[in-house]
Amino acid sequence: MPKKLRDLFRWLAALPLTVVITIQTIAAAPATAETVARYGISMADIPLTTGQPDRGAGAYQFTGHTLYDPLIAWEANVGDRPGKLVPGLATEWKPDAKDPNRWVFTLRKGVKFHDGSTFNADAVIWNLAKVLDDKSPQFDPKQAAQVRPRIPSVAGYRKIDAFTVEITTKEPNSLFPYELPWFLISSPAQFEAIGRDWDKVASHPSGTGPFKLDKLVPRERAELVRNPDYWDPQRRPQTDRIILLPIPDALTRTNALLTGQVDIIEAPAPDTVPQLEKSGFRIVKNVTPHVWPYHFSLLPGSPWQDIRVRKAANLAIDRSAIVALLNGLATPAKGQLDPSSPWFGKPSFDIRYDPDEARRLMKEAGYSKDKPLKAKIIIAQGGTGQMLSLPMNEFVQQSLAEIGIDIDFEVVELENLYLHWRAGANAEMNKDKGITAINLAYVTADPFYALVRFMDSHYVAPNGVNWGWYKDDAVDAILAKNKTTFDTRRQDENLARIHEYMVNNALMLWVVHDVNPHALSPRVKGFVQAQHWFQDLTTIRVE
């Protein structure tokens, strides 16, 4: 009996060992010939696959510019300099010499959708109607809701011949081409073939992009496979298959990378960076068109009306400490834009950490630590782009207290913050609570998003998001002139002037730029990170 018992124990002890060995064997399953990259993305779901992705600018890299092409594309396969507009499905575009509202697009010939149908002018018109004409049979309210705000200039469109279309704008707008990378072209033939149902198209989409969708499991995964016939040889995918896995929680995403369940992740949790690097993973980051600011109200009664206070606030923040808080996953802001931007210019106000100068300015304005200025800021609990919202805000709060600005927070959910943002500083919901600044991270990818919408006095609520009611006739004049400046170099000069105005007037308290960090397993040999929210997944190479 005791011997039997001993045997039993021995057997029991061997069992876990056997299991572990078997598991290890299975885990090391032989690699197939197909190269596969598994990508843990920070979204809670796979973005819309029907043509216009939802879930913000960061979603275009996954189900936008992979499956589809825009007329004018953004150069996202370079990392050492900011990208620029490049030909997409249009080879050429220019405004009419006589009527600056008319833009003529010459379309690329010989491009086929994934379903085999041909791309031509009819497809472009069909797609414009898809999002702009609610009477058209292919109108999709969901795609429309996503893309309409991104192409506000379009007034009309017309086919000229099989490979030429004309788009008219509401008013002359030299920046119109920057709106077009957001507008993606899906296949009319596929929509018809599948029974005119966008929800079904979601599982069987067809575009002209470098990847085709092979499989979609909502909320779990999307599998993209290489499109061998892609028209641009520069952008033929270097990996046969990319599997997108939505893992919204940063720690879970990091753990998935550490255990080898994925090969590449977006936005690792900052505190896990040392562990990742120690374990041989690579952290990739780059300048990104993003800024984390306090946008001031300049309305009567706002304490920020005094430029000395605004400048003092900008000098009070030790940005390197915040970068350290984020484990290096940010860069200190010198303005709305990164100095490497062609629109940065040469502002005379140098944004830096100089508490003495800040205190001097505050004293001049009549405030000090003992007699502090009081202000209320509305902030978000967290959310995409807001980085470590609460910790960072608390740090700013402490820094400002040091120079005699006592700020108080109104903490709301991100969706709610957007309401307060769209309403403008003059709205009752802001005024009644005494809110005089808003902390909302801004995408600064193009001139309109970075500068125009905040600087042009026409864009005060409800026309736009010039939240603080900034108005400067000189700025308005430059912006008006810029609308009819079609030469890119002259445009850039104008925009640089605008940015100089913005910084010299300290329109916001700029804190840091995001660097859009990615963590890669050693398997990933190639990945070019663009200086943008648009990324090019064709550059991913695994071994």
């Binding site: 572990v20 078997t22 598991i23 299975i26 885990a27 399953a29 809670a44 779901d45 819309l48 939802d54 913000g56 609610d134 309210p141 969901k142 429309a144 809701a145 996503q146 309409r148 705000p149 966008w198 929800d199 979601a202 499991v217 909502p218 909320r219 779990e220 995964r221 896995l245 893992i247 929680d249 879970t252 753990n255 998935a256 550490l258 255990t259 080898g260 369940q261 562990q275 969706e415 709610n416 957007y418 943002w421 769209r422 998001v465």
Partner: protein, 317 residues
């Protein structure tokens, strides 16, 4: 007996109806615009209005309820506001995953609990009993989401033995019973099993101790009845109650795995609920809660219906 079954069955009808009302109202007391999830931050007002009409959010509540119930009976739970996909399909595939996890976790808890409970009951008031009871108290006291985190850090991130998240290498759509998939179950199932394990231990321990202390059992033992026979007797008396408790526990596991599913990114209903709450996706939220409640009500009914057949005491009544 037949009367009992019938009574129990008819009783389920009003409850189910009441549950649908509560599910419906629950999400409508929620503040905030249900469409914030779909429309981008700066969508124009007319786009928002069109979407509102498309989803039927512009009608009065009783009308919305009647329509919703009518469609729900026909198996249509509407479409997710955030994704536009039919809610029924999403919830059903998620329920499958939740069931899988709950059944495996529940079975682990049941086995562990029965074993510990028998030990503790058999060796009542000895050191073995104290150790087993201590484990059961730990089981019901540990915040299991925290336990799950610790297990992931140790067994996934540090030792790299088991995956940290997800329901299999190919996603949940094609679950198969092989090791590659089963590995994904280990940590979440263990995490989920600690509470039922603790509860079953307590139940079984009390029952076993009670049966063993009964005079006739003691008398039988004194007469030289072998341990095996005593144990058969004990098992006969303990099994019905233990199974009934387990049935209820399974229901709780199905309805309450939200925390564990969140920790392990397990694509079940809890994970879905979490997303639905934070995206304010009302149809999805309603659908998920409704389906979970129906499963729960059905499971309780099943337990009550089966119990008379396995419990001789109830049959006599």
């Amino acid at each position: 007996m037949l009367g009992y079954l019938l009574k129990r069955l008819t009783y389920t009808v009003p409850i189910t109806l009441a549950v649908t009302v509560v599910c419906f109202l629950l999400v409508h007391i929620a503040p905030g615009d249900p469409l914030n999830a779909v429309a981008p931050a700066d969508a124009p007002a007319e786009v928002v209005e069109a979407l509102k009409a498309a989803y039927g959010f512009d009608r009065p509540l009783p009308v919305q309820y009647a329509k919703w119930l009518g469609r729900a009976v026909a198996g249509d739970l509407g479409r997710s506001v955030a994704t536009g996909r039919p809610v029924a399909g999403e919830v059903l595939s998620a329920v499958g995953n939740t069931l899988l996890l709950a059944v495996v976790g529940g079975a682990a808890g049941f086995l562990g609990g029965t074993l510990l409970g028998c030990l503790a009951g058999y060796f009542h008031k000895t050191r073995i009993d104290r150790v087993a009871s201590a484990i059961s108290v730990v089981g019901v006291s540990v915040p299991h989401y925290w336990l799950g985190l610790l297990l992931t850090i140790i067994f996934s991130a540090r030792l790299n033995w088991l995956p940290a998240m997800g329901a299999g290498p190919g996603g949940s759509g094609n679950w198969t019973w092989d090791l590659a998939h089963a590995r994904h179950l280990v940590l979440p199932a263990i995490t989920l099993s600690v509470i039922p394990m603790g509860i079953i231990t307590r139940t079984v321990r009390a029952l076993v101790a009670e049966v063993l202390s009964q005079e006739f059992v003691q008398a039988l033992r004194a007469k030289g009845l072998r341990d095996g026979q005593v144990f058969t007797h004990v098992a006969k008396n303990v099994a019905p109650t233990a199974l009934a408790v387990m049935g209820v526990q399974l229901g709780y596991l199905i309805g309450g795995s939200i925390l564990v599913e969140t920790v392990f990114a397990w694509p079940g209903t809890g994970f879905l609920l979490n997303i639905a709450i934070f995206q304010r996706d009302l149809p999805l939220l309603q659908g998920a809660i409704l389906v979970l409640c129906l499963v729960f009500v059905g499971l309780n009914l099943l337990v009550d219906l089966i119990q008379p057949f396995i419990d001789p005491r109830m049959r006599r009544n």
